[in-house]
Amino acid sequence: MIKIENVNKYFYKGEDRELHALKNINLSIEKGEYSIEKGEYSLLTGPSGCGKTTLLNVIGALDSFDSGKIYFEDRELGALSEDEKTTIRLNEIGFVFQAYNLVPVLNVEENIGFIMRLRGFPDSEIRERVKEVAAILEIDTKLRSLPSTLSGGQQQRVAVARAVAAKPKIILADEPTANLDSKNSKALMDMMRSLNVTENISIVFASHDKDVLESVDRVIKLNDGEIIES
């Protein structure tokens, strides 16, 4: 589903403080590594600053890279226009951002349903689906609240709910359990697994949470921008 070949990314390219954030990343059978496949349930892990978020952003057509190739179901991301990448993000990818990134103007219900609405789902279906995921993540009492009135953990669950509601092909979840207690993070991981199994949605986590580590099928270890184990 997603193949990565020799991808390098730099920050501050050409400046004194140039930073080689992703070093020759390969997730491709041709390069002797497994690619990310349909139904994948895996974890990117590694110490803080090793490049987990950067890699997820690059895979999710959110950020550019400096060399190499990424194939998203046969489309080479580097060759796509900004609008084509936007369409992929909207229709095929669900993001859970480390910084939540909720829309401040919209209440919880509208945030969760936002992507479905953009994709043109009928109102009734949106309402039902929002209720369903909100109940699983225990945020159904907060549907009318604005994000600014929620705790970190609550915002995180809304961010997850928004990513999963529209049932994308792949969910890229950056530290989705970071602010959750063990009960909530367990409920979240159960929901993720059931989406993975019943809807065949691929999920890639970036996390150093033990709960996540224990539940995934595959672990990709990063260190200082390099894959050291996959």
Binding site: L62, D83, T87, R89, L90, F97, P104, V105, L106, L118
Partner: protein
């Protein structure tokens, strides 16, 4: 996207309120200002036309350029009977204009002496209304002279005094008579008041052999807006040796003055709009730059640049529509009210007297067409004001925008 735009409008209240108020005030101001400018021009024109010049005048070709006895209209009765058949004409009258010398025992002055039909002239011009002393002419007033206040001052003439006239009759013979000053007028136009004088036609025609002749025929129309079409229908009826001219040609200097005035009006207006435009744009820009992160998030989760553009256009559309929809009827109502109850500006007739302004009151011009283009202009300015913010926001890469603080 529309309902999302509405939510943004409610969420970012201060920006919404400023934009709303600015648009509201500028729409209101603009409508009233333009109505005032057009209105003052219209009333200047109407006053000027009322004083002496007709909305349309008929001349024999050559009279205006060359003049002289060969260029009089010779079949006045026939033309007048044709004119009475044409739609859109309110009043008309002929005038027989000649130049001569008016002398008292010690002073004399060249003067324009015009034979007029006193009854018809009452409808056509302000001659009677500008009377300041004595009385206006009548059909039977014989050798009565009705003269401008500045003219009689030159030759030290008083009402009741006699004055001799020497001129040439229409057959080029010598014409002379003794007039009595019966009335004095003052229109406010020095040029006119110092040279013009009038005598009743029935009397003057005999003196000048001018029966059925005229220098020109002056015409008042029902609606000034239709002046060009009325002119055409008159022209069709008349022989080609007659020229039919509208006030636009007859009063070139006044028309030019009004154009200059309009241009200055529009220049000061556009300065005002430049300011409003930038204020709206700056508020829009401040708002958008405080939302960079939010737009980044939206773009990350799948909003396209076209969506962002639509969103911002919807926002300005809703805000400006609301302001315009509220301000337009109020502005129109003000224009309408003051078109019926004119504003009085002290001293206006003094300032513009050389253009024949005789009244201090300025009715506003109430014109739906004008109001429509006013509104269209404000709309366009509002839309233009979001172009820069849109390109600013769309220049961000989505992921970078989410890191923006």
């Amino acid at each position: 996207m529309f309902s999302f735009a509405l939510k943004n409008i409610f969420f970012y209240k201060s920006r919404s309120i400023t934009t709303f108020i600015l648009t509201f005030v500028s729409t209101l101001f603009f409508i009233v200002y333009v109505a005032m400018m057009d209105g003052s021009h219209n009333s200047m024109l109407k006053n000027a036309l009322k004083v002496y010049t007709g909305a349309i005048e008929i001349y024999k070709t050559g009279y205006r350029d060359i003049g002289g006895n060969e260029y009089f209209i010779e079949n006045v009765d026939e033309i007048e009977s044709k004119l009475s058949q044409i739609d859109g004409i309110k009043h008309f009258t002929s005038r027989y204009e000649t130049y001569g010398i008016l002398s008292t025992d010690r002073y004399s002055s060249a003067a324009m002496v015009t034979g007029i039909n006193p009854l018809k002239e009452e409808n056509m011009s302000q001659l009677k209304a500008t009377l300041i002393e004595g009385e206006f002419l009548s059909e039977t007033s014989k050798n009565c002279l009705y003269a401008g206040a500045d003219l009689i001052k030159k030759i030290h003439l008083k009402v009741g005094d006699e004055v001799s006239f020497i001129g040439s009759a229409s057959d080029n013979s010598f014409a002379a008579d003794l007039f009595t000053l019966c009335g004095v007028f003052r229109t406010g136009s020095f040029e006119f008041d110092s040279s013009a004088s009038f005598v009743s036609r029935s009397y003057f025609d005999e003196l000048m052999y001018a029966q059925n002749k005229a220098s020109y025929i002056t015409i008042d129309v029902d609606d000034l807006e239709d002046v060009d079409s009325v002119r055409l229908s008159i022209k069709k009826q008349l022989s080609s040796e007659l020229e039919v001219l509208t006030w636009k040609t007859l009063m070139k200097s006044m028309v030019e003055m009004m154009q200059v005035d309009s241009i200055f009006g529009y220049i000061s207006m556009s300065l005002f709009f430049v300011v409003i435009f930038f204020v709206i744009m700056i508020f829009g820009f401040i708002n958008v730059s405080s939302r960079v992160k939010e737009f980044g998030i939206l773009r990350c989760i799948g909003l396209s640049r076209a969506n962002v553009r639509a969103l911002l256009l919807y926002e300005i559309f809703i805000l400006s529509s609301l302001a315009i929809v509220l301000a337009t009827p109020i502005g129109a109502a003000i224009a309408y009210y003051f078109s019926i109850h004119p504003i009085v500006i002290e001293g206006m007739s003094e300032t513009y007297k050389e253009y024949g302004i005789v009244s201090d009151s300025v009715p506003l011009d109430f014109n739906i067409f004008t109001i429509s283009w006013n509104v269209a202009l404000i709309y366009s300015l509002n839309f233009l004001s979001v172009i820069y913010p849109i390109s600013y926001i769309n220049a961000f890469k989505p992921i970078e925008a989410t890191r923006h603080v």
